[in-house]
Assembly symmetry: D2
Homo-oligomer: 158 residues x 4
């Protein structure tokens, strides 16, 4: 079975996030991994574009009940009709979850991925950090500065 990696991030993002996501998508396609994403703009569109630049397979898992708003670089589109409950579908479909940037929707994906357990969850680049009541960062999410480092942290190609 194909390796599948979820890449999550805001539907609107800045240039640094866009570049990281595009590069990550490109590298995932080169390694033969399918990309699972939310199918809309921003980080989702960038990772899809990167993967398609290397003929990669990209599945967009949309919140809506039809394919309206689906990105142009998706290979195939799943229209869930579930709203943000689709975030749970995305993280359950992946061997590893990489988050780029920060937003409430993105945070819900990170949290659902950690709640699921058993798969690496990686924040690539700057993002939101979680601080526990002891003032320290809550352990669990790994941090990568580059797409190559993020792929290393997935440990899927060791």
């Amino acid at each position: 079975m194909m390796v599948q990696v979820a890449v999550c991030g805001p539907g609107q993002c800045g240039e640094p996030e866009r570049t990281l996501a595009y590069e990550l998508g490109r590298m995932l396609a080169e390694r033969g991994a399918a990309v699972i994403c939310g199918g809309h703009g921003g980080v989702m569109a960038a990772v899809a574009a990167g993967a398609r630049s290397r003929d990669g397979l990209v599945v967009g898992v949309l919140p809506g009940a039809d394919r309206v708003g689906a990105g142009a670089d998706l290979s195939v589109v799943i229209a869930t009709g579930l709203g943000q409950a689709r975030n749970s579908v995305i993280v359950h479909s992946a061997d590893a979850v990489v988050v780029v940037g920060g937003s409430w929707g993105t945070l819900s994906e990170l949290a659902l991925a950690m709640r699921r357990g058993g798969v690496p969850v990686i924040q690539l680049g700057d993002g939101w950090r979680l601080v526990g009541s002891d003032g320290r960062e809550v352990p669990g999410v790994r941090h990568a500065r580059t797409p190559a480092e993020a792929l290393d942290l997935t440990r899927l190609w060791e």
Copy 2:
């Protein structure tokens, strides 16, 4: 965007259903359509095998929260963790829904597809029929005897 057709049917089926589903998958792949199915055995496995025999793209949308039990011929797997609520995800992702054979799960997909509206719903081969309180078949679902006829009824290639 790619044409996407959902093919639904029981996880256990007889030889006639298997043959129809395989042939339908093969023809969908030849026409460049992606197949969306439930990702398990029976009709789902047969349509996936048919599509893969022509290098088609097949998405398995599983009820479970991981990819355990996913069929060997799927291109990519969506592990929904939604149980049978995933049937709604399948029918919302399709430009047309073709049903092969009869079972309660299959019937729920047919009913959800008709409830959604706006997409052709086709029963291929024998299956369960619905009779209203007036003793007549409830209108809406179209009937095809062959995969070619089913594809014609989708009207996706006119």
Copy 3:
């Protein structure tokens, strides 16, 4: 734990269905059962009104992502945001499922309830019947002519 019975039916219905649903709701409340329904009009509103006429507890499980359109007689409202995938939530929450009338959404609930297995599924009054490829009615769903008979068939008060 309280007995919970799902009552499913079309959002628009005729007087016979309305009367059956209202009476069923009333009797369920008298027996101390909670009613789970889809929370909209027609059969859903009638069963809620019947239950509330006896101070019964009625939960409306809506397809929408907020409580807009929720019926006036609901005790509490669950806004799922799942669209028709909420039908699966309704049938999983019940000790028995009673269907009044016929529609595609209603049929999906009946089919999902039978697919779930382990709980009685009862058609009250006229409705859609399922005929297999052998020309006979597909076994499984039980038929009741009156609300009292439907309650008997649930076997929850034996």
Copy 4:
């Protein structure tokens, strides 16, 4: 329509969280609000117990496909069969979301509630804090030290 407040928190918690959740449940019931919770142990069980101590209405929205594991103090149980996607159902059903304690599941509920928008989201007591890439707390979630303060921040009884 009844006011509905979601109370979210870990399935295992310490005494401080338990006390806050119980007290919050009690006060919500006294004000006539229905409590929506996840239906399991820890904070969920405590808020349910508090609400039931004042004859309040408590709905448990479970991840599982049946009512196994449902708490003893729930008025009615919705068995979603959706896994953690049920967290989205909880937050969409509420006029306000109060979080007690920290865990990945709880964080996903807080994030989904903020993603939904339009309803107050309140952290009661200590919990996880979110720090943006500028080193400051991400704005949006309000903080309360006592159940009374949490209720004030919902602004539902002004």
